[in-house]
């Protein structure tokens, strides 16, 4: 009998299954907060420069040019810009963390070189769900290391803050694993 085979595509990545976080460089347990993206998005671009050298007009040699840092941008749901400083238990806001101020003033840069400007790791945790019993539930953690913002676009009408900046890294660090059993 003719057998039909197919490969299940488990689940296309979906921002609704992806939690976005920021982590500092505190060891062994880093400070972290969840980024409320709302209806926004997170994008990152890995770039590299490839130089093509011609030999008397013909394509010949190829080499990699100067390294290029990753571009990162994401949106925030704008509730408050700064955290409530009346209580030490109140978590900082994302903007406090990015600026290393107020409730995030004690956060330690993710970049071990303390002479450099403050940086944090941005982490996207993709944990797809397909109901109880579905096989091979895997997850993937995407870390964008040492992110420093360059632009904060505040939009009062939309109630959002658009953050863009770069990472001091060429590529994201990606770890894929099985989801822990529940």
């Amino acid at each position: 009998m003719f057998t039909k085979l197919w490969v299940p595509v488990f689940a296309q990545i979906d921002i609704k299954n992806t939690e976005l976080k920021m982590q500092d460089g505190t060891t062994p347990t880093a400070n972290e907060i969840v980024i409320k993206v709302g209806e926004g998005n997170l994008t990152y671009s890995e770039n590299r420069t490839i130089e093509y050298t011609l030999d008397r007009g013909r394509i010949d040699e190829v080499r990699e040019g100067d390294e290029v840092p990753m571009d990162v941008s994401f949106d925030l749901l704008w509730e408050f810009i700064t955290g409530n400083t009346d209580s030490a238990g109140v978590p900082p806001t994302v903007e406090d963390v990015l600026k290393n101020q107020n409730n995030a003033a004690t956060w330690i840069s993710s970049d071990p070189d303390t002479c450099r400007p403050f940086a944090v790791d941005v982490i996207a945790e993709n944990v797809p769900v397909c109901g109880a019993g579905a096989p091979t539930q895997e997850q993937e953690f995407i870390t964008l290391p040492d992110f420093r913002y360059e632009t904060l676009d505040h939009d009062l009408r939309a109630g959002t803050i658009a953050v863009s900046g770069r990472c001091n890294s060429k590529v994201a660090s990606i770890v894929r694993s099985l989801q822990p059993s529940t």
């Binding site: 197919w6 595509v9 209806e39 579905a134």
Partner: protein, 160 residues
């Protein structure tokens, strides 16, 4: 390549998913068109699906679309006016982000193995969301409230 069993497996898996959710709250669930006597049922769900739509978006990669609709019916109850809303909540909560599809059935192709994952569509631009509509008391003489809960799903399958 297409498989004749796909629509049946999808429907069977979806039926089982919503049956489990309704049974957990002791609410009977019927399939649209199924013969039943509901005269003594104070509350029940009726499941209806439209689709699946089938589209080969690239060689061997199929995208399925499925519309799932649950009619919620509750007898009017003077001691608990929120009854219909409670049951609507049960139905809406069953619209999980993912519903696994298995080769359910007792035929030669039905080995109960995993086929794929139906993913709930939630998108403001395409008006995809879990939608609740209340129809109220459907007839002056009949003390019955009706509502519907609807959601749209998508599944990818890559054939070899």
């Amino acid at each position: 390549m297409k498989d004749k069993n796909w629509p049946r497996w999808i429907f069977a898996s979806v039926s089982k998913h919503f049956l489990d959710a309704a049974s957990a709250e002791s609410i009977p669930l019927f399939i649209e068109g199924q013969h039943r006597d509901t005269r003594l049922e104070k509350d029940f769900f009726e499941l209806r699906t439209d689709g699946p739509t089938l589209r080969e978006v690239s060689k061997g990669c199929f995208v399925f679309g499925l519309e799932i609709n649950i009619i919620v019916q509750s007898a009017m109850n003077d001691t608990n006016y929120h009854r219909i809303h409670q049951n609507v909540g049960v139905a809406a909560a069953a619209f999980d982000k993912g519903i696994p599809v298995y080769k359910k059935g007792s035929g030669p192709d039905d080995d109960q193995s995993f086929v794929g994952c139906l993913q709930l569509l939630q998108n403001r631009e395409t008006r995809d969301f879990v939608e609740i509509n209340h129809f109220g008391q459907i007839d002056k003489q009949t003390k019955l409230m009706q509502a519907s809960v609807e959601g749209h799903y998508r599944m990818y399958l890559q054939t070899s």
